[in-house]
Amino acid sequence: MAALFRSGRPALILHSQCIKFAAKGAEVGASAAEPVTAESLRERIDGFLAGHDPAGDRLEFLRARFDAGLAWVHYPVGLGGLGAPRVLQPVVDQRFAAAGAPDNSPRRIGIGLGMAAPTILRHGTAEQRERFLRPLWTAEEVWCQLFSEPGAGSDLAGVATRAVRDGDGWVIDGQKVWTSMAHQARWGILLARTDPAVAKHAGLTYFLCDMHAPGVEVRPLRQATGEAEFNEVFLSGVRLGDELRLGAVGEGWAVARTTLMNERVAIGGAALPREGGMIGVLARTWRQRPELRSPALHDEVLRLWVRAEALRLTGLRLRQQLAAGEPGPEGSAMKLAFAALTQQISGTEVELLGAEGLRHDHWRADRPEELDLIGRGPTYRWLRAKGNSIEGGTSEVLRNIVAERVLGLPAEPRQDTGVAWKDLPR
């Protein structure tokens, strides 16, 4: 992915705990003999569609699409791709969507597609790539991410989950938290400590965790909104074969960085229209309920409208840059601005509505599969928005990273450099 560096700046990528620079893209491997173009791709897809009925068996269709190299075209030949430029993927997805073909429910398998797959591609053995990538892409196997722990949030490299060698394999003990989709996942990408006696980054190893193995217990984690989008995962004497280790022992942090690099800011999909986000809800309430208005709130609503529109245009510009192969660090600006904005818009909405705004739909511990930040009432929006400045990296850690990686300001002095993990205060 040489294009990443075309602008001369490394791209900032979001992660659930922190942000890392994408020093190198995740794609490796063979290119098709002929350079792939949008035109040749369309021909190839039309040829494929002639032989495979989009209305037929869903799984069969998806497997055939993978085998034809039309899954993720920037992946190598034989692993669902054609070694084509990544920017051509929208051509493929649009062509299949236009033909009414089934998709692989990309929102449901986002962690697999966005994080597990590029890591397996880059660090996996031939056997691991062969075994895992196809069912991952066809959504036969859902993946989750076993990184964060109660004691390792912003400081991910401090994870305490232990992996101890046992004959040919490993025994895992520990606790992970904030794990989306764990209750549906077949596999998890797992960061565990194999050597507590060395500095924290050096003692980590990366595994592919069998979520059906004995000793894996998934419990819903109820959040302030009352629902449980996430899980806690308890790992008690979980045995994993050595063939499930990804990368060398002690190289877990380097492998994890590939995962983190690929957890991009969610900017996929179509650009939002004006008032397409949470501001639209507030603006409609303002229009429809003149009796609620006050001069002070009018100015507040206008200020929020300006910020929302500025952020929307920032997203539009970022999309245009990415489409042109010029990624920059603007995604982290969007993450920070988005979190602050949703919190303020939803707070203003509750205030505008007064006592009516306090009425809540229910406090049931639902397990929503797709997050909808504006789908429920004002109190839900206000509460859920509190998570926006915590999930995907807290706004405070993100500001540190922007200050150091984007602006080049010096790092805060650290207490954990060169200290064995077991000797760190915790």
Partner: protein
């Protein structure tokens, strides 16, 4: 229509060359010297930008001696001029140029392309109206009365205060009695008085006219439309200047915090300061998007141009002030001295925040576009 909000390769090259030129000819010590001098602006720098490089007439068609470019290129130059706090009447000339383009005033456009300064004679805080000119009320303009000379030609009487970029103008475009007139700056009955104002890098002057002979350029809707389009363009272009100014403030503050040591550490390693600068950067990223959007809309004649210009001012005006204030504060004592350039940017940012309408005024404009009626 989706407008491209990125910079083109040509625009990046344009930026590089303007920045290099300003580094050589508009270092801050020179800017301060000009600001302290009785001269209203930097005549040498203006000659370089206009006569020698043609940058002052980027948006003027080639057959009239201009570069045949658009407001999007003009905006790139303004980013760099904002970055340098350069004392030249570039923005005012660009705005006057928009009036002339709308009225197809080819002679004046040729003069402008040759480096002549033409200024729109309105107070610096006049911004675009909430609705197109033939609809609701236009901007509040000072009363300038029109009378008729013995030979039937128009004469202007009245005062226009706080006009920017007009100190060196040879021709003034004066709105009066619902029409637009051209008045020679050295015409009998026209008096121009410099104002001591907050921002000496963009001097203001007061105009007084007693039977000043004028030439009618346009009347009625035609005049109102030309004036309105120029004010929309002015608000849009100013957002790019504010962006460049804010970027300088951020860059300079970052550099200071990297190299200034206190408590045995670079000051920039303190989280309290890092977070403020990170937040400023977040605002700047957005300022770039809204500024590019505003000039792209204005250049394309997009129906959103008025909204985009008001959005850009509502966002970038306060942002530039905040960037300059943070720059002063985070420099500590040195930032409050006359010897450090921070004060030039602080003054220019505050002055620019009222130019072409304050943020509050633009929010009121946006309220009409967004159908968000007041209480």
């Amino acid at each position: 229509m989706t407008l491209d909000l990125r910079y083109t390769e040509e625009q990046e090259q344009l930026r590089d060359s303007v920045r290099a030129m300003l580094a050589d000819h508009a270092g801050w010590a020179r800017v301060l010297k000009v600001a302290e001098s009785p001269e209203p602006d930097d005549a040498d720098l203006w000659r370089l930008l206009s006569v020698e490089t043609g940058l002052a007439a980027l948006a003027v068609p080639e057959h009239l001696g201009g570069a045949g470019a658009t407001l999007a290129e003009t905006a790139v130059v303004l980013e760099e001029l904002g970055r340098a706090a350069a004392p030249v009447p570039y923005l005012g000339v660009a705005v006057a140029g928009q009036v002339l383009l709308h009225l197809s005033e080819t002679d004046l456009l040729r003069e402008l392309a040759g480096g002549g300064v033409v200024a729109l004679a309105v107070p610096f805080d006049i911004g675009p109206a909430p609705a197109p000119p033939n609809g609701a009320a236009g901007p509040r303009l000072p009363d300038v009365e029109v009378s008729t000379a013995a030979d039937g030609s128009p004469l202007l009487n009245g005062r226009v205060s706080s006009v920017a970029d007009a100190s060196r103008a040879r021709v003034l475009l004066v709105p009066a009695g619902g029409a637009l007139f051209a008045v020679e700056a050295d015409a009998p009955g026209m008096r121009r008085t410099g104002v001591v104002s907050l921002d000496e890098t963009r001097p203001l002057c007061d105009l007084a006219m007693w039977n000043a002979p004028a030439r009618l350029l346009a009347a009625g809707d035609r005049a109102a439309t030309a004036l309105d389009a120029a004010l929309v363009a002015g608000a849009a272009l100013l957002a790019s200047e504010q962006l460049g100014l804010a970027q300088w403030c951020l860059d300079t503050t970052v550099e200071h915090l990297r190299t200034r040591y206190q408590f045995g550490r670079p000051v920039g390693s303190f989280q309290a300061l890092k977070h403020r600068l990170a937040d400023l950067w977040v605002e700047l990223v957005q300022a770039r998007a809204v500024a590019r959007h505003a000039v792209a809309c204005a250049a394309a004649g997009d129906p959103d141009a008025r909204l985009a210009a008001s959005l850009a001012q509502a966002h970038n005006g306060p942002l530039a002030v905040r960037a300059a204030e943070e720059c002063v504060q985070m420099h500590g004592g040195i930032g409050f001295t006359w010897e450090h350039p921070a004060h030039l940017y602080l003054k220019r940012a505050k002055s620019a925040s009222v130019a072409y309408g304050t943020a509050a005024r633009h929010r009121a404009v946006l309220a009409t576009f967004a159908d968000l009626a007041p209480a």
